[in-house]
């Protein structure tokens, strides 16, 4: 029993070392290209960093406007008029949560991108590529957050439009 436990715990400890290498294996040709064109790759990443900040600030400001100047006041007004607001209130909470996730995921992604740009890809293309894979995943999370936020806004708009048609009857 002791031997089994020892063997199993050794296997569990070895997993974190083995798995990442299998997931992010890099070929010699990739290493060579990354090393040779390190400067150009880094310049693309710096341009992307700048574009991303621009997008983040624009989107963040629009989402903030949507929440504070539209969704919240409309929901409040509906409540003050003694009308049912359950679905709209649910969407407001969902939107606020997605907005928080967006801010947090963007910070994680930006940190990784900055660390990626800081790696000397000419000397260490393997570490660079590993970090690039991590950064890609983080960017995908931000993209998912944006899609969820936009879907929620469209859903909110649909429900309010339907409500507006009720008033036209």
């Amino acid at each position: 029993m002791k031997k089994f436990l020892l063997g199993f715990s050794s296997f569990l400890l070895a997993l974190p070392i083995v798995l990442p290498l299998q997931t992010y294996a890099i070929s010699e040709s990739q290493k060579s290209v990354i090393s040779r064109y390190c400067g150009t790759i880094k310049q693309s990443l710096k341009t992307l960093q700048r574009t991303d900040i621009n997008s983040r600030v624009k989107l963040g400001s629009k989402y903030e406007t949507a929440l504070t100047k539209f969704i919240t006041p409309l929901n409040l007004r509906i409540v003050k008029n003694n009308l049912s607001v359950s679905k709209l209130a649910e969407l407001q909470t969902t939107f606020a949560n997605y907005k928080t996730n967006f801010a947090s995921d963007f910070t994680t992604y930006s940190k990784l991108l900055e660390e990626l740009i800081g790696i000397d890809c000419q000397e260490d293309p393997t570490t660079f590529y590993l970090k690039l894979s991590e950064t890609r995943e983080a960017r995908e999370n931000v993209n998912k957050d944006v899609n969820k936020l936009n879907e929620t806004l469209h859903e909110y708009q649909k429900i309010v439009t339907k409500m507006g048609k009720e008033y036209e009857k």
């Binding site: 990739q30 900040i53 983040r56 949507a66 100047k69 409040l76 309010v160």
Partner: protein, 110 residues
């Protein structure tokens, strides 16, 4: 300095510098860890270009949270809310996977 007053002045000066260094370090740590540094467009190299600067409208519309609800004010909401949604949808595929893909960075496939 031989006088007590002069020595105290030096201690005060050094103490003030140390406190300033500590508070500045703490501020920078918070600035970095909170993620605000990644939103700061006043950093060198991140200043917006002339063409990137959009003129913000003088008064931004806000739906009032008081008053009755009728066809007119709901339509007013829908119209203005649609403008916000349209401005968000105009931003093409934000944070897509393409910019960091191997092909875009010139890295060959395995």
């Amino acid at each position: 300095m031989k006088s007590k007053g002069g020595r105290n002045l030096i201690i005060l000066g050094i103490g003030a510098i140390i406190i300033a260094c500590i508070t500045t370090s703490v501020s920078l740590l918070i600035y970095h860890d909170s993620g605000d540094i990644y939103l700061d467009r006043s950093r060198p190299g991140f200043l917006p270009e002339k063409e990137e600067i959009e003129e913000e409208p003088q008064e931004e519309y806000a739906f009032p949270d008081d008053g009755t609800l009728n066809k007119e004010n709901i339509n007013e909401f829908i119209e203005n809310f649609q403008e916000v949604i349209d401005s968000i949808d105009k931003i093409e595929d934000p944070f897509s996977s393409k910019p960091l893909s191997d092909s875009n960075l010139g890295i060959p496939a395995e």
